[in-house]
């Protein structure tokens, strides 16, 4: 099947494009990009709504899909439905399922579920250690062969410096990325929120930002020792960013990601004890938020990732210190990024695409990140001026734990195309009426 996305503003920083162009998709592949393309015989023409932007498909390199084992929170199918509704054509899912994804069997199970769902691409991330227990290295070669693109003990840091060294060396040998959840567990203790004046006032146990910073310094040092890249998951403090910048300046291959909730909310949101503000790392004070926004703008931060962490309503209905950490994020990332970073002038559209597509593809070494002729047609159509009111009830994720209910934001997703298939079409966007109803081949 052939179709042309007509007259969209194509923002494709990897190819240096930012212009109103046509994109021809043939048999799931980007066939041609150019101005005023003549439609081949039999091709469908899909007019891109005025003001909408055609970008390489967005890639979320940090999500939790909960299957196998916690299907009451999310399944692979519901997770990828949320992903495409959020504009993501691909997601990388962390291994803290039950059982942990530390074997080819679990990896293949996830890959099969993703294939059956047939929406976003799913790249499993394997455990760095067996059971993510921080003791014995997982069979990283087998995990890679089964489809894992990275290893991490996310949910926990890779526990000892020696194991981290070995994982970096071994995974580096196999060209598998190592992602670490940076947090000194002893310094975290039984903390549940950022350690600071708000926590003290509310009587909630604190986690100092230094628990994260210490660990990042450790990982950067070990990345230098092993000459192997390390990726810092969900970086959240100004000190952490300073450490990453210093590492990069020393020539160490360190990359990092920041979540939307960390660049839009501060620990002031804890007032009221809404457990949907409980996440790990915790919400930080304004100075950290400002530093993260600066890092997103100046290139120090490589990626926006959601750390989409679905939890069932019953679990989030527990008291604050007993409720689990984590919020959903796949369906709010684009509106939050547009509203708080692009429309405020902190970053431009090309930078947004770098953070949400180009860099995650590059760091994970997966396809995508550009609209290159001959590449699979993974495309996101963004509606930068769309007024979006966040409503949990209308989200595709099985769990609804997020603190943005009722927020009205400017900017959203119009459509998502994976391998040439339209897998999501936003009914709220005018001008898509002539497009096929998603998902279609």
């Amino acid at each position: 099947m052939t179709y042309i996305l007509r007259n969209g503003r194509v923002v494709d920083p990897a190819n240096g494009r930012d212009a109103v162009l046509d994109v021809e998709v043939r048999d799931g592949v980007i066939a041609r990009i150019g101005a005023n393309l003549e439609a081949p015989a039999g091709a469908t023409v899909l007019d891109v709504p005025a003001g909408c932007i055609v970008t390489p498909g967005l890639i979320d390199m940090h999500v939790h899909l909960r299957e196998p084992g916690q299907e009451h929170k999310e399944t692979v199918a519901s997770g990828v439905a949320a992903a495409v509704a959020g504009g993501f054509t691909a997601v990388a899912c962390m291994p803290n399922t039950s059982p942990v994804n530390d074997s080819a069997a679990v990896t293949r199970y996830i890959v099969d579920k993703a294939a059956a769902a047939g929406l976003a691409r799913v790249y499993p991330i394997g455990a760095a250690s067996v059971g993510s227990k921080g003791e014995q290295m997982a069979e990283i070669g087998e995990l890679k062969a089964a489809g894992c693109v990275a290893v991490s003990d996310d949910g926990h840091p890779i526990r000892t410096a020696l194991l981290m060294r070995r994982v970096l060396e071994y995974a580096g040998m196999l060209d598998v990325l190592v992602i670490d959840h940076c947090e000194d567990p002893t310094l975290k203790g039984d903390g549940v929120v950022h350690e600071g004046a708000v926590a003290s006032e509310l009587g909630l146990r604190g986690i100092p930002g230094e628990a994260e910073e210490l660990w990042i310094e450790r990982d950067i040092t070990l990345a230098g020792l092993t000459k192997t890249p390390v990726h810092v998951a969900h970086l959240s403090t100004a000190g952490s960013l300073r450490a990453v910048r210093a590492g990069k300046a020393r020539g160490i291959a360190v990359t990092c990601e920041v979540t939307p909730h960390h660049f839009v909310m501060t620990d002031e949101a804890l007032r009221g004890y809404d457990t949907n503000t409980k996440m790990n790392p915790p919400l930080r004070p304004q100075a950290d938020v400002d530093a993260l926004v600066e890092g997103l703008a100046d290139g120090s931060v490589d990626v926006i990732a959601t750390d989409h962490a679905p939890h069932h309503a019953d679990e989030k209905a527990l008291s604050y210190d007993q409720a689990p950490f984590g919020i959903t994020g796949l369906e709010t990332a684009v509106p939050l990024t547009f509203d708080r970073l692009v429309h405020t002038g902190r970053i431009d559209l090309a930078r947004m695409v770098e953070l949400l597509s180009v860099n995650p593809a590059r760091i994970l070494k997966v396809p995508g990140g550009s609209l290159t002729e001959g590449a699979p047609a993974d495309i996101t159509v963004l509606a930068p001026d769309l007024a979006v009111t966040i409503r949990a009830a209308s989200q595709k994720s099985l769990s609804k734990n997020m603190p943005f209910e009722g927020w009205t934001l400017k900017g959203g997703v119009a459509a998502t195309i994976v391998g040439g298939r339209l897998v999501y079409r936003n009914p709220a966007v005018d001008g898509l009426e002539g497009w096929p109803t998603a998902p279609v081949q």
Binding site: A197, A199, S200, E201, G203, G206, G272, Y273, D321, Q322
Partner: protein, 314 residues
């Protein structure tokens, strides 16, 4: 010209924390407690103020003195009371806090007096419950009736709260009594100096209006009121300080140290006390200690709170 309209009721439906109360409302509670105290001195210690009302004392965390104090207060106001010691194991079994309380609410109580080990539990319940909620201590957050009874006791002895120098010494980090007292005393115009081993000082305590001191001596200097906080013995295992012996050496209230305070300073403790850890026995039993008065005043203050919250129809 007339003065400000007197406050005659609390503006909120619940008492979740001192942070909810204005200075005028605090004064109203203390003034009302004066009248309630008089009830306790009668031969027949009962008034019909809450007759026909049902109050459930819902304690998710063990407590003898606070629960007893509330129960006596409720009975003196003629409320029908029920004590429920809810094991936190119900939560472990998967029942949420809200489910537990919804079951109790189905029996139509008017008020719930709630103690819970988690900070914010009362606030979370208040968002969903029909009943009025009185916080009887939530985690490390607040213990408002304790602060009110402390304020009542201070006012009884000093005649005022405004302008007083109050020293609070002990485990500041884990103390809901500290938080509520700090909020209340600052709202009422007192100065609060605090002292503790550094690991037991909450980060940002200055933002709550406290003046942190490096030593107990610095905190006690010229104080009108000395409030000691309990040290939980298990804190020692967590390396907050090296030993109880050293704690007493550095931060224990002895009569020598008490001499740094004003000659008429009073000594308070929310109890239960660890003699020889945070306070020397001779000080605890000495003429300046008002510790048992605090307990006695607790009933009157809790009667005042329950009356002001539950004594009128919505």
């Amino acid at each position: 010209m007339s003065g400000p309209t007197p406050v005659t009721a609390l503006s909120g439906r619940h008492l979740l924390g001192i942070s909810d109360l204005t200075p005028r409302e605090i004064t109203l509670v203390l003034d009302t407690a004066d009248a309630m105290r008089e009830v306790g001195e009668r031969q027949i210690k009962k008034v019909p103020a809450l007759r026909g009302r049902t109050i459930v004392n819902l304690f998710f965390e063990p407590s003898t003195r606070t629960r007893t104090s509330f129960e006596i207060a409720e009975k003196r106001l003629s409320a029908d009371t029920l004590n429920l010691a809810v094991s936190t194991s119900s939560v472990v079994k998967g029942e949420t806090l809200l489910d537990t309380v919804s079951n109790i609410e189905a029996m139509q109580p008017d008020m719930l007096v709630v103690r819970h080990a988690s900070s914010g539990a009362c606030e979370q319940l208040a968002r969903h419950c029909r009943s009025r909620i009185v916080n009887a201590g939530d985690g490390l957050h607040e213990h408002p009736t304790q602060a009110l009874l402390d304020a009542y006791t201070i006012r009884q002895h000093k005649g005022r709260l405004d302008g007083l120098q109050v020293a609070i010494v002990g485990d500041l980090l884990h103390s809901r009594v500290l938080r509520s007292n700090l909020l209340l005393l600052r709202k009422m115009g007192a100065t609060v100096r605090v002292a503790a081993p550094r690991p037991l000082v909450p980060v940002g305590i200055e933002a709550m209006g406290a003046i942190p001191c490096r030593t107990i001596e610095e905190a006690l200097e010229g104080a009108d009121v000395v409030m000691m906080l309990r040290i939980q013995l298990e804190r020692m295992q967590n390396n907050f300080f090296p030993s109880l012996r050293e704690y007493f050496t550095l931060f224990g209230l002895t009569s020598e140290r008490l001499a740094l305070a004003k000659p008429d300073a009073i000594v308070m403790h929310p109890g239960p006390m660890n003699r020889g850890v945070e306070i020397a026995s001779d000080v605890a039993d000495g003429p300046r200690a008002v510790i048992l008065e605090q307990v006695a005043n607790g009933v009157a203050v809790r009667m005042a709170v329950l009356y002001l919250l539950g004594g009128s129809d919505e």
